[in-house]
């Protein structure tokens, strides 16, 4: 049977504030256990929540960035359940009236794009952490993370494959970092997904029974977990079984999803408006200020790179993976002062620079060659001082030494005598000596063997230690050998 896969993602993005959603405790990662759990986070008797303006502002920023409706009035609600990592016995979240509703995200699919609709994005607080090791059969509870602000972003069930789900998650990940609302650190759990997965025979309008796979904290796990869950559901149905709606956990060690029994006992969250918190109000003025402060969004940036600077869709997409990368790229282009060389800059940024960053596991913000220094190097290619090939050697030297000034490339070119030899008379005498020394190869060239011609190019480059201007060498050889 032909199966259609239906996936919706719920993504928890930890908002990049200093303090928690409802308390003044720090959210910095890595503190000793419970050192950042204040009276409010511990739910001591008598404490009360007060919302963090910066967290709300980040939610608004997201809403505007995805073209969603920002609800003027939204309501904090309590989601009641008992769990040791949930100190109050309820999580403050948003239920019937979230701060952000609707919106879209354009994701790359194959060589084109697809628009995915968002259901909503709401504010909530994170729970603490349970540690199961080393406590003689007990579980240890660390509440440092309790109360950390989260934006839960819910997509419509419109994703049709694991690839699309990953593309959506990557696009969303890039966006939340781009607009600076989340650091996107997946190892630390700052960006994690729950996937709602169901299958149905193609053509059926009713949705199949879904399973929710919790806490997928890498794109790879997201991909693997969905593939396995889809296979499990299809196999189950084809062998006459029925999918049961449940919460499942992906186990990367065993590469399978399994039922979370602990969440199964008929849960009733008893949502109701939090009586400690009057409704949240976002006025037009606040929204306008947030909108005005938003950077150019990645989609607009991509479009501009293609239309104004003639980049390919692929290069434009690569360069807008992060705001830092795009800013670096634009800084090089502007410093070079030649937007017609944007393609050259794009090649270097997505090529040499990306490779070097990747090799040394560095972020572009920590690149060992600054944008001005790279532009200084590329300037010498453009003006013919060095060849592209020599430029790669200079790049490596700059990377090793660390380069920030526009003159860094020039210093290396001078110190190592790498300036390109473009002087015709100098090259002519070198070439003439090579021709005289290789009569047999001259004959082959004259007989039409292009390979023999390349031999002379190689010899000329060797004699000039790579500094000969390849175009000039070519022209002289053509004149001498094919005349």
């Amino acid at each position: 049977m032909d199966w259609e896969i239906v996936i919706g993602l719920e993504t928890h993005a930890q908002l990049s504030t200093h303090s928690k959603m409802f308390s003044g405790a720090s959210i910095a990662f890595g503190a000793p256990p419970n050192a950042q759990a204040c009276a409010v986070d511990l739910a001591l008797p008598g404490v009360l929540p007060v919302p963090n303006r910066a967290a709300i502002e980040r939610a608004i920023r997201f809403g505007i960035a995805v073209g969603a409706r920002i609800n003027r009035r939204s309501v904090f609600a309590r989601k009641n359940y008992f769990y040791p990592d949930l100190p109050k016995g309820y999580q403050i979240s948003q239920y019937e009236l979230p701060v952000v509703e609707g919106g879209t995200l354009e994701i790359p699919v194959g060589s084109g794009t697809r628009v995915i609709h968002l259901t909503r994005a709401h504010l909530e607080e994170d729970a603490g952490k349970s540690l199961h090791e080393d406590f003689h059969g007990a579980t240890g509870i660390d509440l440092n993370r309790a109360g950390t602000p989260l934006l839960e972003i819910v997509s419509e069930p419109e994703l049709g494959s694991a690839e699309e789900a990953v593309a959506y998650a990557r696009t969303l990940h890039a966006l939340v970092r781009w607009i600076d609302i989340c650091d996107g650190n997946m190892q630390e759990g700052s960006f994690r997904c729950d996937a709602n997965v169901s299958v149905r025979p193609r053509g059926q309008t009713r949705l199949g029974t879904r399973c929710e796979i919790k806490n997928l904290n890498s794109f790879r796990f997201l991909d693997l977990a969905i593939r396995h869950e889809v296979a499990r559901q299809i196999e189950l149905i084809e062998s006459g079984g029925r999918v049961v709606q449940e919460t499942r956990l992906y186990d990367p060690d065993r590469d399978e999803t399994r039922s979370m029994r602990s969440k199964e006992d008929a849960q009733d969250y008893r949502y109701f408006p939090d009586p400690d918190l009057p409704p949240l109000w976002v006025d037009d003025d606040w929204m306008a200020r947030v909108a005005a402060a938003l950077p150019e969004l990645p989609a607009a940036c991509r479009a501009r790179y293609q239309s104004d600077w003639g980049l390919s869709p692929y290069d434009a997409a690569t360069l807008t993976q992060s705001r830092d990368l795009s800013a670096y790229f634009e800084a090089v282009v502007h410093s070079l002062g030649a937007t017609d060389q944007a393609k050259l800059v794009a090649n270097w940024v997505t090529g040499e620079l990306a490779a070097a960053l990747n090799r040394d596991s560095l972020e572009v913000a920590n690149a060992r060659i600054g944008a001005l220094a790279l532009s200084g190097l590329l300037r010498r290619i453009v003006d013919g001082t060095i060849s592209g090939k020599i430029a790669k050697d200079v790049f490596d030297a700059m990377w090793t030494d660390g380069a920030v000034t526009p003159g860094a490339a020039d210093d290396i070119i001078e110190a190592r005598g790498l300036r390109q030899i473009s002087d015709s008379s100098e090259l002519e005498s070198i070439i003439d000596a090579i021709i005289q020394a290789n009569p047999a190869q001259v004959a082959e060239v004259r007989a039409g063997k292009e390979k023999a011609f390349n031999y002379f190019v190689g010899q000329a480059m060797k004699a000039t230690r790579g500094k000969g201007n390849p175009a000039t060498i070519n022209a002289i050889l053509r004149a001498r050998l094919t005349a």
């Binding site: 256990p33 009276a39 963090n52 040791p84 240890g140 956990l249």
Partner: protein, 95 residues
């Protein structure tokens, strides 16, 4: 609406309050008499009335994003039922 013993047990489970069989019987009577009193409100026509969650129609004030709290773990854990290495201990949680 009258609660039967199973409903009482289910609510007690949701609320994490242990109940014995004899307590269930007593609670069933007590809760049903309270619900009976509450029943009086249910015939009232409230169509179109906006539910009132707070005494005032106000908007929540907001905090500036500043870290104002310091580490008070030692004091907070002084009276905790079970702690080790700064962690609160609970019976093993199985997932």
């Amino acid at each position: 609406m009258a609660l039967d013993p199973d409903a009482v047990r289910r609510i007690a489970l949701l609320a994490r309050i242990a109940v014995t069989d004899s307590e269930v019987a007593a609670l069933q009577g007590e809760l049903n008499s309270i619900l009976g009193m509450i029943e009086r409100m249910q015939g009232v026509n409230t169509a179109g009335i906006v539910p009132m969650a707070h005494a005032f129609e106000m908007h929540t004030p907001l905090r500036d994003d500043q870290v104002t709290e310091t580490d008070q773990r030692a004091e907070f854990q002084a009276g905790a039922p079970a702690v080790q290495d700064g962690l609160y201990l609970v019976p093993r949680v199985i997932e």
